[in-house]
């Protein structure tokens, strides 16, 4: 148990056992040695509000806090998964990129062949899609030009 007091008047307490002067201010909570609190309670009855703090309850409170922190961490992990999902949703639609690229002549089609920057990529739209899905660098490059 820890005791603190809230004085109802101003007082300078010269407490010799602690070789210290405690300046008590009205309505301001102060932590004092137990013997000083006992002395003040005897000398100035009714002039202080004595507050007792149960250490065990503080420790329990701390445990709860830790639990809460853990919960938050857990929730943070779930957030990561949510973020991944979001990113997935935001990922590039390869089919749409190919359509846009063809419309804007970024990818050119000559006969059955598809060209990008004058380089032959493949000879069918299905192959082009699979190449673009696998080659993220190519995909992002085309997407950026769109």
């Amino acid at each position: 148990m820890i005791m603190t007091i809230i004085p109802l008047f101003n007082l300078s307490l010269s407490w010799k056992p602690a070789s210290k002067t405690f300046r008590l201010k009205k309505n301001v909570e102060i932590d004092l040695p137990d013997d000083a609190i006992e002395y003040l309670s005897n000398v100035y009855p009714g002039k202080f509000i004595v507050k007792t703090i149960d250490l065990m309850s503080i420790l329990e409170e701390q445990d709860n806090t830790e639990l809460l922190v853990k919960q938050n961490v857990y929730e943070d992990n779930s957030l990561f998964s949510l973020l991944d999902e979001y990113e997935e949703k935001q990922s590039i639609d390869v089919k749409k990129v190919i359509e846009d690229a063809l419309n804007k002549n970024i990818i050119k089609k000559e006969g059955i062949w598809y060209f990008f920057e004058n380089e032959k990529i493949c000879n069918s739209i299905k192959k082009l899609k699979s190449i673009m899905e696998q080659d993220s660098e190519l995909l992002s490059k085309v997407n950026s030009l769109i």
Binding site: L11, S12, L13, S14, K16, P17, T21, V43
Partner: protein, 239 residues
């Protein structure tokens, strides 16, 4: 510090004493001047007691001085005339924690006087008689000329100076029932004393002519008030 109104209500202190003609005739010394001197001294002590310990609302139902106690004064007690310095003090007090008076506590008291403690020459430290020796041991204070200086002056009753502050030890700083005493550090401008009638002695052998007695009456009308209660700080629970 603020401006305000201070009310000075004059109160009369009075003593009447009847002495027989034989007392004066048979005395080796002229007795009337001796009685007058005693009365003057008693008035001075009464004033000091009232100015320090006065309390107009103190319980006072004892019918004579002999049956009076600390908690219940004589119904005509002089201290009922005014609220004294200890009663009106409202500066942040210092509690000595049931220990002896220390310089640190005096220093703290000066600090608690705040603006009123700035000019040390205006301050006065009043201690109980039993603290006089404590202070002498602490500081070796005395009124040697080399400490006061050639132009230095001492207040009546002054036993020395602490950091330039005059110290007065008095018996009217009483010991409480729990064995503790108080000291008081104050700015001397905190209190106002007004004299309506200075100490006056009258004597007559005509009033009590039937009993052949001489009646000596001493009286004084004075007022006392504290204008700055923050300028008075007590150091309590000194043991």
């Amino acid at each position: 510090m603020a401006t305000g109104t201070v009310e000075l209500a004059a109160k009369k202190l009075m003593v009447a004493l009847a002495i027989s003609a034989e007392l004066e005739e048979d005395a080796v010394l002229p007795i009337v001047p001796v009685i007058r001197d005693d009365m003057a001294k008693a008035f001075a002590l009464a004033e000091e007691d009232t100015f320090i310990n006065g309390d107009t609302t103190h319980a006072a139902t004892a019918t004579d001085p002999a049956s009076a106690t600390t908690d219940n004064w004589y119904s005509n007690d002089k201290r009922l005339a005014f609220n004294g310095l200890l009663k009106v003090a409202c500066g942040t007090s210092v509690d000595a924690g049931s220990g002896s008076l220390t310089l640190a506590e005096i220093s703290e008291g000066i600090q608690n006087l705040d603006v009123y403690g700035r000019d040390k020459s205006e301050l006065l430290l009043t201690v109980a008689l039993k603290e006089e020796s404590t202070l002498r041991q602490l500081l070796g204070i005395n009124l040697a000329v080399n400490q006061l200086g050639l132009t230095g002056t001492a207040l009546p009753g002054e036993i020395g100076k602490v950091w330039g502050i005059p110290v007065v030890a008095t018996n009217v700083m009483r010991t409480a029932t729990n064995g503790t005493t108080k000291s008081m550090i104050m700015n001397r401008n905190a209190a106002i004393i007004g004299d309506r009638r200075i100490f006056t002695i009258k004597s007559s052998d005509e009033v009590l002519i039937k009993s052949d007695q001489l009646l000596i009456v001493a009286s004084e009308r004075l007022a006392f008030a504290a204008q700055y209660c923050e300028a008075i700080v007590t150091i309590d629970n000194i043991k």
